[in-house]
């Protein structure tokens, strides 16, 4: 409940963004983020809300751990389950 998950913004309608999480698209709210977000940006999401726009230069470092976690073979792994839960927090 504390580990956010990054995703790519593919569409924005006012305070709701469509965010692509490794192929899974979810609607995420933009009420809390503190700078303008545009299509093509990556945002860090927590319980269905973007809490930070991730600076592009930091992107690769940020994504790598999540990619490993999502490839985790063990479905009961706590950390990867929490990341999947964070993705499910967006509306369909």
């Amino acid at each position: 409940m504390c580990l956010g998950v990054p995703g790519l913004v593919t569409d924005i309608d006012d305070l709701v963004a469509v965010v692509d999480f490794w192929g899974v698209k979810r609607r995420v709210r933009l009420d809390l983020v503190d700078e303008p977000v545009s299509v093509g940006d990556y945002v860090l999401n927590h319980v269905g809300f973007a809490i930070r726009r991730i600076p592009p230069e930091d992107l690769q470092t940020t994504l790598e751990m999540y990619e490993q976690l999502l490839h985790e073979a063990n479905r009961s792994d706590l950390m990867s389950a929490d990341v999947r839960g964070e993705i499910e927090a967006g509306s369909k």
């Binding site: 009420d31 319980v47 809490i51 930070r52 940020t62 751990m65 073979a73 063990n74 929490d82 509306s91």
Partner: protein, 387 residues
């Protein structure tokens, strides 16, 4: 496949050596530092980091699991309300946390209607789809409380209300720092909570207690690098705030989120499981939002639950001491025996961020101290150090 590849093995090995060197240079043993984040404990356990920590370094998980520190009175309020027939929506882990007379799952077995959600926004969607009352049992630290604040400010439907058990981390660090049995010499602060609050929030704490605080990310290398810096600060007797997660954390934090948080919530004192009373540690809705406050909308009577004495098993649970940092799961006689993830006795075995649940999954810590390995957990097996 518990041990993942490090992005840079050479750097990980170098950090491991630097950590051993700095710990040795402190000149006394053991050196005890605390982190306050379930995701840090997951990463430490999952990546087998503890095996690479020097023997004289104790990295303790403090009160960093929001599900675990939610104490009986708040669970009881949710259970009592659910038993009156009101539909409750809450985050998944909360459903199984035992209260005085049982959990929300037990209430569900008696006919109560409990909905599991991943986001408060999904609870609002539930309310929009019905005319029935929906109460969101809101748990989590400031990282999660800001989302509750945002939906309240956005104007939820009239049949939606909030039963807030949100908690605020900075005040509990003040309490833990002064606990005589814990003797923490420095704190690792959680990166994503600090994304909201900013790392500047720890400056008054550092000034008051003379203890360093290092903000850390969640990758194995982030955690190792932050621990090296923290132990160096302990060694140098340099109480400072250091931000080792600048790609997510700034000094001032997310001001927009902070404004929404404090427009909706006010801090009040309250009980945390294992930590007792924490001044300013609980977040309640401000009077302005009374109409959305489930505590004011409903008469919640928990007295009927108090007739149930806690079971013999619950009385043996040492979750409180584990969260205060004075015991580890290996010290608990129930751990891995009567208390397992499928039938948890205490809150720390329920949540994916609970110390007991994490140690149970990842095989606990392959620590060298004989006292702690004697009751090694069964599941998962010990993970070897990838360094």
């Amino acid at each position: 496949m518990n041990v993942l590849e490090f992005r840079d093995r050479d750097r990980a090995a170098a950090l491991g050596r630097a950590l051993a060197r700095a710990t040795g240079q402190v000149g006394r043993a053991p050196v005890s530092v605390m982190h306050v984040c379930g995701s840090h404990e997951q990463a430490i356990a999952k990546f087998g980091l503890r095996a690479s920590f020097p023997r004289d370094l104790n990295v303790i998980m403090g009160p960093g699991c929001p599900v675990c520190i939610t104490d009986l009175p708040e669970i009881d309020e949710a259970v009592a309300l659910a038993l009156t027939g009101v539909r409750i929506a809450t985050y998944g882990d909360m459903v199984r946390v035992p209260g005085t007379a049982g959990s929300l799952a037990d209430a569900q077995a008696q006919g109560a209607r409990i909905e599991t959600v991943y986001s408060v926004a999904q609870a609002v969607d539930l309310a929009r789809a019905t005319t029935e009352e929906i109460v969101f049992f809101a748990t989590g630290f400031e990282t999660t409380a800001v989302a509750t604040a945002a939906v309240i400010l956005a104007g939820p439907p009239r049949n939606f209300s909030v039963l807030s058990a949100h908690k605020y981390i900075p005040p509990v660090m003040e309490i833990v720092a002064e606990m005589p049995d814990t003797r923490v010499e420095g704190f690792l602060a959680a990166g994503h909570a600090a994304t909201i609050t900013g790392c500047g929030i720890f400056e008054p704490f550092v000034a008051r207690h003379g203890l360093p605080v290092v903000v850390a990310g969640f990758e194995p290398l982030d955690i190792l690098a932050a621990l090296v810096r923290l132990v160096e600060l302990v060694r140098d007797r340099a109480p400072e705030v250091v931000n080792m997660f600048p790609r997510c954390v700034t000094r001032e934090g997310n001001l927009n989120a902070q404004r929404q948080l404090w427009r909706v919530f006010r801090p009040i004192g309250g009980r945390w499981r294992g930590i007792a009373h924490v001044p300013n540690g609980n977040l309640r809705l401000r009077d302005e939002w009374a109409a959305l406050d489930a505590r004011r909308r409903f008469e919640i009577d928990t007295s009927a639950l108090w007739h149930h004495a806690p079971s013999a098993l619950v009385r043996q649970c040492i979750c409180g001491n584990i969260m205060a940092g004075i015991a580890s799961p290996a010290d608990c006689r129930l751990f891995g025996a009567e208390c397992v993830p499928d039938s948890p006795v205490g809150a720390c075995m329920v949540s994916s961020e609970g110390t007991c649940r994490i140690w149970h999954q990842y095989g606990g810590i392959p620590r060298l101290d004989a006292g702690l390995t004697s009751r090694a957990p069964r599941a998962g097996g010990g993970v070897s150090c990838p360094l």
